[in-house]
């Protein structure tokens, strides 16, 4: 039997300082390895996998046995390509993580006794590899420092009232603290919601929209007619300023630069919506061939799964920055920075509504004061069309050295 072999290895190391009531309550160490093996023969794929150390020989044997399931995979393997990247060669030690955690918490306890902070301060290391017998050899290594503290105002009976977030390859505790001093002062300053029924709302990250667009850009759904975008290739969908990329640049995403089939995009990016026009959809090798679509390298799958186009694509999508000056755009008008807006959703036809649990009055540079809860409502076509304000590099809110963006839209406000 002429077997082709593919090996996937994921190693995750972590030191986490667990925080309760602004103090380190526990230290957690983690070192987990996951290995997956795929074998290919006569147009079929066999898979196996293990958590922990398992010999390649054993996994190969199990993957060969899995060939008998008869799962079709008649597509060429990615081959003859080597790319090893390490985005952070100096991960923090466990001792450093604890020292940073103690330093941050001491300042927060001292300066903000009216708040309590919980969750974690952590250092994460990730090593993802995919290699095959056809000469593919890809390695992504990275390490980052991660502060995720939920914030509780001691005077409220809420489960929590917000949070501090920091994700960075290089640590700058002083800058983190300086930014969050302003952030926490804004928390303390309670302000009223502006009376207008339509307001400019800015968000960091675009996970709700990306999730919706990820489903709409799914190549198979597109081809089968069930996507909102079916039949619209080449058509203008949104504002001319909107460009949406399939983004595999780890600098921005902290994720591997290759997909589950080992495909690397030129410059780690590929536009799907360009100047508002639909130019490509998300495909893996199978979807591209089956439906005669451009292959865009969007395969997903767990370490021990066959590659598939199904899966959550939202995290791999990124809007291109199209605007520069939030304050200038606002031109003195009050804006809202929506910090936590969870639980809402899009309907299938694109209507959107969500409660906004934590938000601030925002002048484009500075958070002025904390707003009461409200609900915002719109439609995908309006948010990225007539009500689209723009996508900006985030120079206002310091969340670490991983690049982030602010995106703004006029939204209907329901109090």
């Amino acid at each position: 039997m002429n077997l082709k072999q593919e090996f996937i290895t994921i190693q995750e190391k972590e030191t986490t300082a667990r925080v309760q009531q602004s103090r380190v309550q526990a230290v957690r160490l983690k070192d987990i390895t996951k290995k997956g093996v795929r074998v290919y023969s006569e147009g079929k794929i066999g898979i196996s996998g293990a958590v922990g150390e398992a010999s390649d020989a054993l996994l190969l044997e199990q993957a060969e046995q899995n060939l008998s399931a008869g799962i079709a995979y008649p597509y060429p393997l990615t081959k003859d390509y080597k790319d090893h990247r390490n985005y952070n060669e100096a991960p923090l030690s466990s001792k450093e993580v604890l020292e940073y955690a103690e330093e941050v918490l001491a300042v927060l306890r001292n300066e903000y006794p009216d708040f309590s902070f919980s969750e974690f301060v952590a250092s994460n290391e990730i090593n993802v590899q995919i290699r095959n017998s056809e000469g593919l050899d890809l390695v992504y290594q990275d390490a980052f420092f991660n502060i995720q503290l939920i914030l509780k105002e001691k005077a409220t009976a809420n489960l929590f009232d917000g949070g501090l977030s920091y994700l960075s390859r290089q640590v700058d505790i002083e800058r983190f603290l300086n930014f969050n001093r302003g952030f926490l002062e804004a928390y303390r300053n309670k302000v009223d919601l502006p009376k207008d029924r339509r307001l400019p709302v800015f968000t960091i990250g675009t996970s709700s929209i990306n999730g919706f667009l990820g489903r709409a850009l799914h190549g198979e759904r597109f081809a089968k007619g069930s996507s909102l975008f079916s039949g619209k290739l080449g058509e203008k969908l949104f504002s001319e300023r909107v460009t949406l990329d399939l983004m595999r640049d780890p600098q921005c995403s902290l994720r591997p630069f290759f997909d589950a089939e080992g495909v690397v995009l030129p410059n780690d990016t590929l536009s799907l919506i360009e100047n508002g026009k639909l130019v490509r959809v998300l495909t893996d090798k199978k979807t591209a061939q089956l439906y005669d679509l451009e292959h865009t390298g969007a395969a997903t799958g767990a370490y021990d799964d066959p590659p598939t186009i199904d899966g959550a694509h939202g995290q791999s999508l990124a809007f291109r920055t199209d605007s520069q000056d939030v304050k200038g755009v606002l031109a003195g008008q009050p804006g809202i920075f929506a910090f936590i807006f969870s639980g809402g959703d899009f309907t299938a036809d694109g209507s959107y509504a969500t409660p906004v649990q934590i938000s601030f009055l925002f002048d484009g540079e500075r958070l002025i004061g904390k707003l009461p809860e409200f609900t915002m409502r719109s439609h995908i076509n309006k948010m990225l069309g007539e009500d689209y304000i723009g996508t900006f590099d985030n120079n206002s809110l310091y969340l670490g050295d991983i690049p982030s963006q602010l995106q703004g839209y006029f939204m209907d406000i329901v109090k």
Binding site: A157, N158, R221, T354
Partner: protein, 444 residues
């Protein structure tokens, strides 16, 4: 078994899991895998701080214990520490799935079960469908330096079918799911899944946008379950209350939080997604009455929160898997059944919304329910399907708006998803309840 270091509290949780996953895209097999994992979570406590480690090298747990012990400060008084003194010491083996184990069912039978269900999907509006069968059996063992020695098993299996439906301009992706505790039980749900598929297709075909506003809302048992979990369940998790005087005052035991018809229970002894015969600290699972007759009567605890709040243990310290430490989580949480027939409750509603199935929910100060299938209620009858983005309410006041619960009652079970709390997701939980009427909720 393990050599526990002196003057420290140590516990070890070993999890050995067996998982099957079979996926189809239409009638083509996409993947078929069996995954066997073994891992351990080790905790060491010196009276001041916890030290945790998770490992997949279960042959070397002793080395992990020794490493963590070297980081800790030995404390000769550790056994009299209030937290350590409170840990239960159970010694028991409870293996209830030995005779109905998913590990004994040939994979071809599991594949055939799923194939038989999807083979019948023929509606012309279903342009594509994907589906999977999954099962999990986990055997957990727990040992502590106080002498606990527990072994028990948990088991679930289920089917999920996702349909791409196109009916003219109306198109949507909808999912149907059913969970069970054995393959033979799951076989009995084939007709149920077909009925759900038909309902979902009809919903996509005919649903129109809702007129946003405030409505009286009738919740199905499934929707009641998510409502209970999100609107109040998380509030009953007492780790949010420790050291927080405002929360303790707001949620003091004895406070009236609902009408006298309202009873909310969390019960780890019910088989299914929330089955926890012992929690991940070795505490025996039990039934906890959180709200009785509208009054707050209990809350959910780990050992640490139980000690801190001076309330009894409840067996609610759960970890999503061996990579995480136990934190306070729900098990199977439900509103208890009432005494009124559904038809009587419905007949009283001139105008409202019926939530039948949900995509997801969340619970902060505002809880949210994102419906999958929802319908208008007009003149005491459930009528036309409506598309709704989100239904919201205030966790502090909504329970007081519950004014009817039916005598019809169902605990639901599903696969795919689960409860998320901070970094630990998805944790299997059970839920359900009666048909429940809430006088007013915001519908968008």
């Amino acid at each position: 078994m393990y050599s526990f270091p002196r003057d420290l509290y140590v516990d070890v949780r070993v999890e050995e899991s067996f998982d099957t996953q079979i996926r189809f895209k239409q009638l083509d097999l996409q993947s078929q895998k069996v995954r066997k994992e073994k891992g351990a979570f080790i905790r060491v406590f010196d009276g001041q701080r916890w030290y945790y480690s998770s490992t997949t090298n279960t042959d070397d747990v002793q080395a992990q214990i020794d490493t963590l012990a070297a980081m800790a400060n030995p404390n000769p008084e550790i056994l009299s520490h209030p937290l350590v003194a409170a840990f239960e010491v159970n010694q028991e083996t409870v293996l209830q799935y030995e005779k109905s184990s998913v590990t004994d069912v040939p994979i071809q039978e599991k594949q055939d079960l799923l194939h038989e269900i999807i083979r019948q999907i023929k509606d012309e509006t279903i342009v594509n469908h994907s589906s999977y069968y999954v099962d999990n059996k986990t055997i957990k063992s727990f040992y502590s330096s106080k002498g606990a020695a527990i072994t028990y098993d948990q088991q679930t299996c289920g089917i999920r079918v996702t349909l791409d439906v196109v009916a003219g301009e109306n198109k949507d992706q909808v999912s149907i799911s059913k969970g069970a505790t054995s393959v033979s039980e799951l076989r009995g749900y084939a007709d149920y899944l077909q009925q759900e598929i038909a309902k979902s297709v009809a919903f996509v075909r005919y649903a129109q946008p809702v007129v946003p506003g405030e409505y009286a809302v009738l919740l199905s048992p499934e929707a009641t379950g998510v409502f209970t979990h999100e609107s109040f369940g998380h509030k009953s998790e007492s780790d949010f209350m420790v050291g927080d005087e405002t929360m303790r005052a707001e949620w003091a035991l004895g406070k009236q939080v609902g009408r006298d018809l309202l009873n909310i229970i969390d019960d780890g002894t019910i088989t299914g997604n929330g089955y926890v015969p012992f929690d991940d600290e070795g505490t025996r699972g039990r039934k906890t009455e959180i709200i009785s007759g509208g009054l707050l009567t209990g809350r959910l605890h780990s050992t640490a929160t139980s000690v801190a709040l001076e309330e009894g243990l409840t067996g609610n310290a759960r970890a999503v898997d061996f990579q995480f430490e136990p934190i306070v989580r729900m098990t199977t949480t439900y509103i208890d059944k009432g005494t009124r027939p559904l038809q009587d409750i419905l007949a009283e509603m001139d105008q409202g919304i019926y939530l039948e199935t949900l995509k997801h929910g969340s619970g902060m100060s505002t809880f949210t329910l994102a419906p999958a299938r929802a319908y208008k209620i007009e003149g005491g009858k459930i009528t036309d399907p409506v598309k709704i983005s989100v239904v919201t309410g205030d966790v502090f006041s909504t329970l007081l708006e519950v004014d009817a619960v039916s005598e019809e009652f169902e605990l639901t079970s599903f696969v795919g998803g689960g409860c998320g709390k901070m970094e630990q997701f998805p944790l299997p939980v059970g839920f359900g309840g009666p048909y429940t009427r809430v006088r007013k909720l915001q519908v968008q």
